[in-house]
């Protein structure tokens, strides 16, 4: 594997979000309304674990991810990363540590760049390695996401959805982040391909000690992959804890409804 450098451990939790509140306003004139997207959310992600985040559409999962990655800047509350509070406006170095993988592998890569060009640009801009080492680093990244070295000189158009999602993960890993935010990263994939990406995330956790916030609506995937799960409902985290306990002894009424709705393979 590579000389992957994680941020030095400074606290037990890689991430602590405290009392995060986001409000949007919609409509005009008399229709003007305030929508509370996040209503004082607390979330902690222990180092080296995959933390699931589930909930229905509109519950605030993606807004939370956007606050975390500083894509959403109008919020109140604190984001503590690796023991340090992150400001709303972050430096390049602070942004580097939290990377995101998006849902749609077809729209998240530049169609005009080969995979090597995409990765090299990131490595150069963030000065991750010296110019002469970029080639080696690209090869290491391909190895980490279990793609052959030949894939470096391909364009996204010649790749399948699963391969593109691996490239998206490689791009995130290029910046040597400590926390990966996967926002429905396996939802658009066929089940046969999804299994490979789920296994890859588990391998990255086990081999690199990477921490992942895994946003998903498929609870079967979450139960298979995550150490802990948080359940969101209407801008609040209604339950958060050990995956097995949450699935076997749910405490919150909404969690129980959610669990009883899961389709099961019976025979």
């Amino acid at each position: 594997m590579s000389t992957f450098q994680l941020a030095q451990p400074a606290s037990e939790n890689i991430l602590e979000m405290r009392d995060i509140r986001v409000e949007f306003s919609t409509g005009r004139g008399n229709d003007r309304r305030k929508i509370v997207a996040l209503n004082g959310v607390d979330l902690s992600v222990p180092r080296g674990t995959i933390h699931g985040l589930v909930g229905e559409s509109g519950s605030g999962k993606s807004t939370l991810a956007r606050v975390l990655t500083a894509l959403e800047r109008s919020f109140t509350g604190t984001v503590v990363f690796n023991g340090d509070e992150l400001p709303v406006r972050r430096t390049k170095e602070q942004r580097r540590h939290i990377q995101m993988v998006f849902q749609d592998p077809y729209s998240s890569l530049d169609p005009r760049m080969t995979i090597r060009q995409s990765l090299a640009e990131l490595l150069r801009v963030h000065r991750i390695v010296q110019s002469r080492d970029i080639g080696t680093r690209c090869l290491e990244l391909m190895d980490q996401v279990q793609l052959p070295a030949r894939a470096l000189d391909s364009y996204p158009i010649s790749m399948s959805g699963g391969q593109r999602q691996r490239v998206a993960i490689a791009k995130a890993l290029a910046l040597e982040p400590s926390l990966l935010v996967a926002d429905e990263a396996v939802s658009a994939l066929d089940v046969s391909v999804q299994a490979g990406i789920v296994n890859l995330l588990a391998d990255l956790r086990d081999e690199l000690g990477l921490s992942v916030l895994f946003i998903a609506h498929d609870l079967a995937v979450v139960r298979n992959l995550c150490e802990n799960v948080a359940v969101m409902y209407r801008g609040n985290i209604v339950e958060d804890g050990d995956t097995e306990r949450l699935f076997t002894e749910p405490r919150d009424q909404y969690t129980r409804t959610l669990l009883s709705s899961i389709p099961r393979i019976r025979y």
């Binding site: 229905e56 559409s57 279990q146 793609l147 052959p148 030949r150 894939a151 399948s160 959805g161 699963g162 391969q163 066929d190 089940v191 046969s192 391909v193 999804q194 299994a195 490979g196 789920v198 296994n199 588990a202 609506h217 498929d218 609870l219 079967a220 995937v221 139960r223 298979n224 995956t243 097995e244 699935f247 409804t257 959610l258 009883s260 709705s261 899961i262 389709p263 099961r264 393979i265 019976r266 025979y267």
Partner: protein
């Protein structure tokens, strides 16, 4: 009625072949696909992207894209040959005989017509109803599919409703004429799991109460297991395996079905490492005429030179 051997099945598809022409070439997208749906039976048509499951559904409704055509085979609905008579039989059957629920209600619904009108357009014309009668029926149907406060929502436009509510409007419109067969093209894929459970319960109610047959296309084995008593598994345009849901899911005979099951995360069996299927279904143009799942596995054997999709 389920599993009845007497009388004719509601839908009998035999040797269905669909060809698609792409840039002058003809490619077989469906090859010799046969299955039956009985009254009050839900039949699941399962497969990955590129398996041809949606194409099969569309050919039964006469809604194939212009570059696709049924090249061989037959489909009998209540004894009527759907493909005979130059496609004119579809017109008699659509709506009252069979109807379709599409995957994406935001696309399938008319954005500038009120949902109540869209639900009753078909039946009001057939029965010559007044606007008031149609409106009352729309409210009744919306209530049936579990839309809260239907009397307020009947005049809403699709954009004013949530995704789940829109999908229910679609279902209400599809079943408004009380069809004998409902064709479903992944109708719950875009829905939250709680809404999905309600929609599945709704289909099950239509099956038992209206005696409707359901042909349900999906890639989700768990959804099929919840709703369907019989299953056909498609791979790259070919029928791989079919039988009762319990047989196919509990004791699959074919390698592809087993691979699909091993790749599916189980809510009841956590902690097991999933087994991904290497490679993907090749695009129609890149498939040899005799393509099979065994060839995909051979292509992606550990010592193979092709790009391994999964490990």
């Amino acid at each position: 009625m389920r599993g009845a051997t007497v009388g004719q099945p509601l839908l009998k598809v035999e040797g269905l072949c669909v060809d698609v022409s792409i840039q002058g070439g003809e490619y077989a997208a469906l090859k010799d696909v046969s299955f039956t749906v009985q009254r009050a039976e839900a039949h699941g048509l399962v497969g990955e992207s590129g398996s041809g499951k949606s194409l099969a559904l569309r050919s039964l409704m006469g809604l194939l894209p212009s570059n696709a055509r049924v090249s061989a085979g037959s489909a009998y609905f209540n004894g009527t040959d759907l493909f005979a008579n130059n496609g004119r039989n579809f017109r008699k059957i659509r709506g009252t005989g069979m109807s379709m629920v599409f995957q994406e209600p935001a696309v399938a619904l008319n954005p500038i017509a009120r949902v109540g009108t869209q639900i009753t357009d078909g039946i009001a014309q057939r029965k010559g109803w007044s606007r008031k009668q149609a409106r009352e029926y729309a409210v009744h149907m919306m209530q049936l599919v579990g839309i809260p406060h239907p009397e307020l929502r009947v005049d809403a436009y699709p954009f004013q409703l949530s995704g789940g509510m829109r999908q229910r409007v679609m279902i209400a419109a599809s079943v408004a004429c009380e069809p004998e067969l409902i064709l479903c093209d992944e109708p719950t894929t875009a829905l939250d799991v709680t809404v999905q459970a309600q929609v599945l319960a709704l289909f099950d109610g239509l099956r038992t109460e209206l005696n409707a047959g359901i042909l349900y296309v999906t890639h989700d084995l768990a959804v099929v297991s919840e709703l369907c008593s019989t299953i056909s598994v498609l791979y790259a345009g070919q029928l791989v395996e079919s039988g009762s849901a319990a047989e196919v899911l509990g004791n699959p005979r074919e390698e592809y079905t087993r691979a699909l099951l091993a790749a599916t995360p189980r809510i009841d069996e956590p902690g097991q490492r999933l087994r991904s299927i290497p490679g993907t279904t090749p695009a129609l143009r890149d498939r040899p005429a005799d393509y099979s799942f065994a060839m995909r596995m051979a292509d992606h054997a550990p010592d193979s030179l092709s790009i391994p999709e999964e490990h």
